[in-house]
Amino acid sequence: VNSQATETKTPPFDNSLAAVILIATALAGVSAGVFLLWQQVAPKPPLAAEHYFPAVHGAAFSYRLTNADNSITYRSRNLYRDSASALASKLDTNSFGGMMNATGVDVTTTEPGVALEILSRYDILQLNDVESDARGNAVRNSALLALLINNQIAQFAVDQISITPPIPLIPSASQTVTGTLNSQIPYTMSQEILEQGRYTTALGEFGDCILVGSALTINEQVTTSRTRYCAGVGEVADETTDANGTRHSEIVAASVGDFVRGSSPVVPKTDENASLQRIFPEELQGNVVRVLDYKEPPESRGITTNVLPLDGTLLYGTASGALVAFDRAGERELWRFQTGDSIFSTPVVSNGIAYFASADKKFYAVRVSDGAFVWAFPMQDVATASPAARGDTVYVASEDRHVYALDADTGLLRWQFQSGSPFVAAPVLDGEQLIVSNDDGGVFALNAATGAVNWDFAAEKAITGAVQVQAGVVYVGSFDQHVYALNAESGEMLWSQTVLDNVAEPVLVRGERVYVGLYEEVVALDTRSGASIWRYDNANSVYGAPILLGDQVWILGSGNLIALDASTGKVVQDVPTSDSGVFTGISSDGNEIYAGFFDGQLLSFAGGAE
């Protein structure tokens, strides 16, 4: 019987303050348990030594160097930070020895499992320096390894030379360290903090800086240096004197944590340009077979972007946050630029610079010839879509609900456009317009020069695949299970067609056909009316956007690469791929088809075998 009631028979305890305290205690206990557990995997708080040298994974710097002969060079510095146990197997013999000495682990007496357990308590910092002249030609590459140990950042190797004992990068007081290099050559290092105060650089004035003076003696050769470190940034200036003379360096660009400022001159500009293309005139001849099977190292944690082909080089991003340049012919890594978090934004290349976004909420410009850092732009959220670039402007659509137009050379903001929802789909340039679409189903045609809205259109649900434009018509698919054709000048809807599933990927348009990849099928629609021409139904899933090579529509299935006849939708080739889990879609340069996988596998397929 339902009735408005007052509770009866309440145990007296439930009306007492003690009962409330009991619940509060239980709640506090469980909360503490969860937070203690979380602390083990939560981002670690910085060491005291990181005040003047932030050891931030993916930090990047650019320095302008004035050499003893007055020539100007540029040094790009990129920081990689990982646990010592994860990096141990990657180190050369000397560096490994230096690390073991620094951690006090004796490999001859310690069991491997125990050694790894000890190493996992420490982080290694790897500083990769790329130095080039004013024309962009490589001058010198070097790598410095340091261990975050005993509340210090201690340098234990440089360029495969071990340093025993390790030398602190920032001394806590005046000190002199003596030891050996590669356990053979004696060295002496004297360090002291000379002054503390404000310092002005090209990036502006910093309020909390120190000047560290040091003298390194090796075989009676003395190298002295005066290095300036500023809080929250790290090294901002240096003056090193050795037998060859004095060399000055000064910071011109930095991206470290929340501090993002400046740019390195883009010299020289090249005509290297590339963006993800999905349509190629020629089909692959003969039976298509696998011609490349490469696996990224485990610490990459998988390939997370489309593979962008660029004149024999393949560019892709990884879950660990590295942009990798891979030499297709030599089947080897050329360089790797580290950012702070995963990269899901397929890069575009314009005038020799690769532009991409990282989940560390920054947008990067990196030189494709050597992976040198050019500039970064801070956003409020991640961007997972590929950017668009033309001329001197690059455009990025971010999940912080903004579209940013940036100066391609300096990264300075030209204009921004804000919508009510995050942008996941890539922006597309069409003439003077930039067309973007958001998570709420909005399509906006913006003036590419000013960001003013020319027109907008609202689909019922989210749009995550970039629009495609052909002959003045914008084609776009939505999670509302529709494909729309819009007039590119006015945004007026020309037609809409219902499909059987959410459209999550960009559609593919050529001639009189719109090809749409859905969860378990591919459909071809008529560009003039939206009428369905053919439908390919796969028993298993198909993923990613299709690509078109000649008269064949290629799509990645679960475990196979499928080619469909573009006119009929009939399967013409079915190539086994991999049992790997998730993949990032397929791409091509017209000669090969590339596929990257979340488990780190990089595959390539080419025709030829009859």
């Binding site: 007052t6 509770e7 979340f598």
Partner: protein, 597 residues
Amino acid sequence: MKMPAVSRQTLQTLLVTVWAILVGGVRVFAWDSLREGFIDVRPLPRVARALTVIGLALVFAFVLSIFFNSALRTSGELEPLPLSSSGTGGIFVPSTVVPLAYLATILAWTFLLTGALHVMGWVRWAVFICFMLFGVPGMIAGMVQASTAGSPDMFDLITSVVALVLIGLVASLIVFPRLRLPLALEFSVMLVLVGTLFIVGLYASAASSRQGGSIDFVTGYLVPDAVTNPRQMTIPLLFLAGAEIINFGVSLTRWGTRSTERYARAWIVTALLLALLVYRWFSFIYYDVLPDVSFDQIQQWAGALLAGCVLIPIAIWRNRKPFPDRVPLKLVLGLIIAMVLPQLILFVVIILTSAFFSSQAAMENPNALTELTQVSNQLVFLSETIRDSLYLQLALAGGVTAFIAWRMKRYTVAAYGLILGWTQFVWWFMEPGRPLQEWRYQYQDMEPWLLLALTAMTIFWLARGELSPARGLALAGLAFFAWVLNFTDFLDNPLALFFGFAGIFFTAFGILWGVLTAGGKFANYTSLRFPRLNRIILYLGYTLLTLNITHWFTVTHNVEEQVFNSDITMNGLRIFGYTAAFLIFVEGGRALLKKEE
């Protein structure tokens, strides 16, 4: 009815009255009805009050956080979620959300399990089975499986035994409902049991994954699994959240009509009715007809007409029968559960099948994976077949409901069943790939037909001089209600530039409205087998679980899951909400005039 000449004084009177209606509507009726509908904690013992306040505070905090989800993402670090990510895009969760969501999951299950103690057996067991299937983290199952197969190490064995003991203790509380302790003790014990179970599970799995060098296992795999695993279980509440939007519309209109009845003179009611009709026709012609009427639009109007034409004969029949009746919440809940249950059962069967064949594979049965694939394919086929005929099943359920209710002389319920049966029957033909797919309509396509009917009635009664104040008020209420039903777009995105929730706001608002009015529906009532305290705690636990998942998908910007969630809410609105709304039209707007129940 004689209309006074339009003069300055007339206009002044009109404006003053409209102001009085608005202020009165908000001050007297809205406030009163919200106060009556809110969960009343005053008669509850101190502990129950504290728990209700904690639960409500968490519910409001989650809703608020859904509204301002960007702040969480922009203010801190983001952690990647590899299992949710795809080639289409990476999915990231704000670091701070990870422990909070885990804690909220523990609390939600504690509320649910505590609420289920001492109530009727089927509720107790349903909650416990749900806890075992969706709550007990996957890592516990994995641990137990690992410790029973092969030669487990001591750590696995100990944690498995601890987990089994904890589950056993929870089960014993469910099995022995007569073992009644003070609420504070019961809740604390349950919190400690559930919390320890989750913490042990997370700790053990994290430890084993760290040995494999996978440090992001906790954030990337374990926590999302524990938080989002119960999402199948929350589907009924998402359906209800959709239906709640109609209740909001009904309440809004009712406040307006009651306020109008109190403050407006007869001629003002008529003036308001005419103004409303003119405004809606003007909007329709100006925005929908004049710019362009596509063939697609004509087909959608035809679809709405096809679905709505049944309302006329039902209205004629219904008005010949007695009125004092309403559609019970239990019926809607029953229909929702009947609709969801087959898929839930299949989902559970798939989980159990996978676990069985995985253990077979672990025991090195070479055919295990092949057999698993075959069985899974058949189960998925069965699931798709059931899903394909869902609207026909609903149509059948509507028909059966109508027949039984008619035999029991429950005419309102019978009308509800008839409307549900017909609208879902024609909707089946409008699904993608079916003959009437181009006729698929939205409420906006239905409104002109409703407006036409209301206008025709207004003109008919005006011409005959029979537009009484009661009729005028009912028609004005219906015209306003028809307009309010359009506001789902507004609910979707009231301040898009600042918030931008996509469809998730719709879900969150539906749930919030349900919580705000739960007292008037069931939470302020009690029965011997389902005491009030248990209703409140159980409901808050279920709501918390649903909001936690909705919040997770919102802050992770998981578009696919957000669309899935909001689709369910929209289906709840379309299937049960609009059916209830059409019933109000069929019954001549009586539900809009009376005091809230």
